[in-house]
Amino acid sequence: MNGVIAGISYRALLGRRRIWLLILLPLVLVAMATLLNLIGAADERTAVTLMRTFAIGTMLPLLGLIAGTGVIAPEIDDGTIIHLLAKPISRPVIAQTKFAVAASMLALFAAVPTFVAAYLLVNLESGIAYGFALGALVGGIAYAAVFMLLGVLTRHAVTIGIVYALVWEGVVGNFVPGARRFSIQQWAQSIADQVSSSPFFSTEITLGFAVPALLIVTVGAVVWSGQRLRGFSLTGDE
């Protein structure tokens, strides 16, 4: 961990227009919860639907994408990463610091609003609020790691990330059950299901698969990013 790098990364994420997108997504989630409350649809099933399709299914990958690629991709795009890499700081430490920044952003902008939205709908009933907040936190951390790795690997990180989140987790996952095993969203839902006792919510992936998978993916992505930064070559903008 390196405080200066963390500070720079926070400023890059919060100081620019990126912050509006980071605020907009959770705001819409909380607004939806309030709206559903107002029209009197605030029951357990609605809460689970909103959490599954919106909080975990839409907001989490998007926030992961914005924060995960946002900590490193703009610097690579600008070429200013070279100033960072030229300093006598170990490259894996740079990767770990940037990952920690992205993960903390997801805790703040994904896990907290998820809890608030679920609380607005059903209070603490059946542990839905705690479960989905924990799921969003763990899933968000994994997304942050994976999308940071993508940002280091390719300049088209955001597009490829979207294709993964939309096409693989969304479309392919719906038709090919096996694809669901390799989806961060599904792992996050397994964690949420473990905490929540709601009868409207069940998942197929067992905890015994989801937890090791999340750990391996997160740690693996951070380590790989560090390794990749060690032998990083800057190519010119097209």
């Binding site: 997108l21 299914g57 839409t58 998007l62 990180a157 955001v158 597009t159 939309l166």
Partner: protein, 292 residues
Amino acid sequence: MSEPTGVIHDIGYRHYDGARLGRGHATAALAVHSLRGIFGLGRTARSKIIPFVLVGVMLLPAVVSIAIMALIKQEGMRYTEYAVIMQAVLAIFLASQSPYAVAPDLRFRVLPLYLSRPVTLWDYVGAKLAAMTAAMFLLLAVPLTVLFVGEVVIDLPGDTHTVEYLTSMAGAAGYALLLACLGIAVASFTPRRGLGVASVIALYLLASAVSTVLFGVLESMGDDAAAAWAWLINPFFVVDAAVHVGIFGATPASNVIYPPGAGSLVAGVIMIALIGLSVTALIARYRKAASR
């Protein structure tokens, strides 16, 4: 008579004496250049991968439909449903390619250079919008046309769906115009490509998720009239309701019921309002960018 000293040598610089093609040609050239850039033509091989893979994915259902028609003699996909079914691909294409059309010029602050030529601000914005509209139209019209040609060649018993095909082509123009305006307007707010891609896709996903959740909840509450309105939050269904159903009286995409009566009219108004809003935002954005 002495030899002249201090001669300025004539090294052959010449004035341009040819015809000056003027503003229209400059705008057209900019539009064509942008259109080529959107598909990665004239750029590196790597930047051709994503657009052409997406074009390939768009063609996939048409090819599968033709195969179904040829092999098991059943009707394939409905023309007017094509865009709604493939909306994720269209949205990804819009999100990944519209920042390419606008971000580099903003990032390198070359707008004053463009505007020092006969091209005006409206021409510039119009050229970019025209390029993106043409790209989205091609992305949708080519698979539809392939499907139609396939249907004509296979010639199943029963009528050829010529009217449906033409309706879907008009719809494709509507989709292209609305999506291009929205995509370019959102993408132009950031000079960063990655953030532009994320913003466009975030807005699409937000609209689509809000519409799905609201529809599901309202329908489960038994409020079908309100549930029907929830579809109109998603821009893809707005165009389907306005152009396909409203103007040409086609049947809506499957599983979808639009609000009866004023629904199509409201969809049309939403569509026009969104286009107007996007263009206004774009002009305001570029006024600011040009003055820097």
